[in-house]
Symmetry: D2
Subunit: 399 residues, 4 copies
Amino acid sequence: MSLRVALIGYGFMGAAHSVGWRQAPAVFDLPEDVERAVLVGRNAAAVAQAAQKWGWAESATDWREVIARDDIDIVDIVTPGDSHAEIAIAALDAGKHVLCEKPLANTVAEAEAMTAAADRAAQSGVRAMVGFTYRRVPAVTLLRDLVAAGKVGTVQQVRAAYRQDWLVDPEMPLAWRLQKEHAGSGALGDIGAHIIDMTQFVTGQRIASVSGTMDTIVKQRPLLGSGSGLSGTASDGYGDVTVDDVALFTGRLESGALASFEATRFATGRKNALTLEVSGDRGALAFDLEDLNTLQFYDRTAPDELQGFTRILVTEAEHPYVAAWWPAGHMLGYEHGFVHQAKDLVEAIASGQDAHPTFEEGLAVQRVLASVEASAVRDSAWVDALATVDAVEKTGQES
Amino acid sequence: MSLRVALIGYGFMGAAHSVGWRQAPAVFDLPEDVERAVLVGRNAAAVAQAAQKWGWAESATDWREVIARDDIDIVDIVTPGDSHAEIAIAALDAGKHVLCEKPLANTVAEAEAMTAAADRAAQSGVRAMVGFTYRRVPAVTLLRDLVAAGKVGTVQQVRAAYRQDWLVDPEMPLAWRLQKEHAGSGALGDIGAHIIDMTQFVTGQRIASVSGTMDTIVKQRPLLGSGSGLSGTASDGYGDVTVDDVALFTGRLESGALASFEATRFATGRKNALTLEVSGDRGALAFDLEDLNTLQFYDRTAPDELQGFTRILVTEAEHPYVAAWWPAGHMLGYEHGFVHQAKDLVEAIASGQDAHPTFEEGLAVQRVLASVEASAVRDSAWVDALATVDAVEKTGQES
Amino acid sequence: MSLRVALIGYGFMGAAHSVGWRQAPAVFDLPEDVERAVLVGRNAAAVAQAAQKWGWAESATDWREVIARDDIDIVDIVTPGDSHAEIAIAALDAGKHVLCEKPLANTVAEAEAMTAAADRAAQSGVRAMVGFTYRRVPAVTLLRDLVAAGKVGTVQQVRAAYRQDWLVDPEMPLAWRLQKEHAGSGALGDIGAHIIDMTQFVTGQRIASVSGTMDTIVKQRPLLGSGSGLSGTASDGYGDVTVDDVALFTGRLESGALASFEATRFATGRKNALTLEVSGDRGALAFDLEDLNTLQFYDRTAPDELQGFTRILVTEAEHPYVAAWWPAGHMLGYEHGFVHQAKDLVEAIASGQDAHPTFEEGLAVQRVLASVEASAVRDSAWVDALATVDAVEKTGQES
Amino acid sequence: MSLRVALIGYGFMGAAHSVGWRQAPAVFDLPEDVERAVLVGRNAAAVAQAAQKWGWAESATDWREVIARDDIDIVDIVTPGDSHAEIAIAALDAGKHVLCEKPLANTVAEAEAMTAAADRAAQSGVRAMVGFTYRRVPAVTLLRDLVAAGKVGTVQQVRAAYRQDWLVDPEMPLAWRLQKEHAGSGALGDIGAHIIDMTQFVTGQRIASVSGTMDTIVKQRPLLGSGSGLSGTASDGYGDVTVDDVALFTGRLESGALASFEATRFATGRKNALTLEVSGDRGALAFDLEDLNTLQFYDRTAPDELQGFTRILVTEAEHPYVAAWWPAGHMLGYEHGFVHQAKDLVEAIASGQDAHPTFEEGLAVQRVLASVEASAVRDSAWVDALATVDAVEKTGQES
């Protein structure tokens, strides 16, 4: 018998998740078959066309109806963040395994409710997973494995950054992603979430406290004309950008080790530069998503004259996920993480084990995000991220 | 109506071509639908299992029967090189479009016969294409486009190398690929063919003459025990390696420009390092397959103090093939070339245009390969590669 | 007539400054001759030996006597920071040109007094310069020139880091540099000062405010046995490290642009990695001291498909300082900055112009350092760096 | 007592050797003092000015008179290649230690005579050394040491290239270096000599045979007007370039291992790119002169999942020559090799040991150069480089 998937949402992330479900059974030997059963979206014609192109058996417009169906096993949610909580909780309560795109939710409160739903569902063997796919880039998984194996020794510092540049142009128009009422958050929530999760993933520690600064570098942008997509011009006037486009913060891990973070869309020339460096008393490991098939490893235990950063091409059969793909030296790309994610979720379901990152791990990211926001409005004061609730509530109390 | 594909062969290349046919219609807007109709292989059980895993509707064991079927439009050949000629000619004569893995054939004579068949078939609108997929790595296509646009000016030198290291270990056993009677050729024919084709592709010129050296660095290797796959040990004794494992040659393009070539499996630490550098009087372009999402461009027309190699991340919508994939800065991998190949073949069929590389272009590569072999056995004397026939014949005359 | 130099101090920096004075007249065409007149240090035998080796005509043990001599024109100070103020003020008051190693002083108050002395001396044509030599690495000077020429447009973000790893080992003993009473400051004052100055230099803006965190990652280290240099062992017991070994801070330039800073000695595998990246709406520039002959430039005004970081080899005659050295492609090293510094000071003296960085510029760095310290003890609250006085005073008021 | 040096020649190489003699005693603890006694050149005024600037005690115009002086111990020859033999033999016969710039001579016959003179002089303790300074870049010396220590195992392939681009522009005028009667040789003799020596140095093996091609890519260039330096224009007409500007050759080491070589001035964008890669069955080592403070090491004996090229920053005290310079992570540059050369020659003289590369090693390079020329005029036939005499003689016999 096979696992039947419903994918809710069909934008860019819908395409990526579709590749995951399409390729996973053709590349890996999965313990269960997978069927792309139904693609769900509000525009019937558009979602039908996407379903046809991406190879989904059916399309539908009402996610509640789909969740109610008996023949759906997995609900994969790639809608905007403000709908995650409602859909995921409904799906879990209906006994469906859930894969939910990151960030888990727009608020800590939502994430808490989702985690509670996941806990309830877990009692009947239902799995809930958050889509931090970058964990499944082989070099990142290997980085985590090497930290866990003691290759860097005691972690002393972490540097994490996610740098893009698509807002550098001040005449780039005021898209919905730049308006808080639609997007919830800016650079912090969208790309900052990735480096928070990755830091917690590779160190095996939570970020315990943070001090941060957020900024909106370009504060007004051209309004989009009605119905004009990205084609608006300055003649339409200017509107306020209401989300952050850069967030800089410092954190402390549970061990006390320092970590520095940058999430920005103003790093001219950096397209998708998620970089991570973990330093310890026995070595260091460094990763760059723009060079995703490699991992840099510095071994302080090597002979002095031979020490240096080793550029490991993470394409060997010994490396995580790689054996199922191509021979050594053959590159993987962006969408492979989605294939690995689909594989891992299927294996978790089949084996009755937690599917990481769990909703609890997603909630932990949410708490850090809220803590950074809280610190930013408090003159960068340090905020306890293990206990934090939403910055909005906290700062509401103060203003 | 859709194009129905038969794939003959189901090894590593079968997996790669399957990804091509699976992903192309889901990623690109093809002018014709594509169906993975039948996978063909000699072992009925194994090919059936592969067909199931890779999503082919049927499997079959007799390629002649499949070629005879009316409901097959495209025959995709990924069998060992010694069967290319027979299958491709039969398919073309049966009116099927043919995609044939590289190198086109094991001899110039075979390649000539195949090209003749392709010419006959072309008169009734049938296409014949050779699978030099690296042409379709976006950075390589961009490199060609920039040369064609005059960005390097007059080409003055080309450096091409394909370096791997899987034979470095002298105790690596004597696999069939190291025996001439099975493999036909060694490093030269397998990986040297790629850099010959790529040089001709990006410069738009044929390699007119060559002087070369071939070597077998490790001349004897452990025999494999009977039925033991790669598990043989030295106790089985040693046998002769009868193909080259390194080929070094110099060529002249039609314009007289010099090109240097290295194909080796003894480049310790280089896993799949196909590198190409084209130098001209206005600029230079450099590519490395181990960093396949980038292209290096040196612009001699830039202001003196700003000149340098620009590392272009070939992931922008403006770059070849990229718009259909992911946003800027999101990496592509090895198999994407196969997706592009499938797309381009379908478009060529739909539009009634030649599908490049044509068999004639494949034959041109074959002539260079034969010329290098001929030069190697003649004390590295220069051999005319535009007119060459097989080295075996030539050298036969001399011995 | 020639300029006669007295160099006070003969440690590592004495060697570097000696190279500067030795090479400058042999490489550049200076407007005035330079004589290495006298090397000053407390240990008569040791300083005499150093003078002999480094080519100083005399040695001496009393800097006051040397400053009083009529035949000394330039006093070059490379003693520990706690003596800078006394020597520099005395020298300036005696009418000598002064070159003072960075950081200018150990406190803002000292730096203010030194700047006042420099202002007084300037009225009679005496020059005072601070030794931030990294400004004179050709790639850094070029970076500044390109920012000034508008190549990055409006500066939107700056990232600056100085990463070393010589304290990673917890058993590294408690040297004097790790004790506040001797060293004044740790990573912040020593290497953080460089990235503060460089940021202000290349942007032409002061850092207006900061929020920071400082830490001592290894808090206790093995005591050195008496008279044992670095040979102490754990049997001597452990003592407290009383300076910071990592400082992380965020700043705002006068324009409001954000800048992030890291000064650390716990970046495992990073030996002397001063990195700087300036992002603007027209381009970006990036520098790495471990690759000091290159500068990375991203030009957003280039055609879309050709954009990327250009790796400029800063070894062309068109580049700052380079024409006097070697042909294109020949590398410069660490000490070349000291040669350029000597040349520039001589030229400033000869032409009667300010020698940058002036003491006022050194004082500006000092204010930022003090502001970071003040922020760090105030829960990372933002501190105005344009007006700041010493952190010690401020925090004294609070405790 | 100190060693007194006479430097004959005062062009670019005179500047570089002067740095060597000036810096060596100030940086290293030499067993003998060194004095820059006399600088020799034909133009009295110009050589006097250079002597003054570079710190030579005297200048002179007649090298024979200088060689005859009793107070000269070392004769350092940096004149054009056609005068090396005469000066070096005279100096050796006069009992002076000789340092002679590379290539040793313009012909094998000259080099043989020089080697004979060195052998005679050696009997009275006189040293003769060739100036292949790149051997003394710390990363190159380390590379050699690691090969000798077995870190790459058995050498299986070597790749060596020296790429520059200063002839790419076809309108670059016909300087004397491009005329055989003045320069003797082109790219091969000038930069090809370096990679031949470096290959022999690091492998400890001679190049036993070669097959090569030489070319003059731009065959005619604008003539220089009379007395006009590099300022000639096309209006002066065009003349023939009579030396090679690119040489491509393949060699075999004594062990039979293959080595490939490229010496070119048409590598657009490559300024001084001497690259070397040595591959063996236990590892590989790679060097690039444009990144001269680093060495890449691939260790095949490391755990599979951790293998990769390690980028060793060759700036540690454990590395060759480095301890006398700066702390870890502080870069060295081009001229440091000349300082190391001066130091090593002084130490060899003091200790009574051979100063490498000896004239015999320089002669070995000369034989390879002549063999490449001989092969190039014989349709790239393989030539025995261990026994070769001058190509001119050989080819003369054949034409």
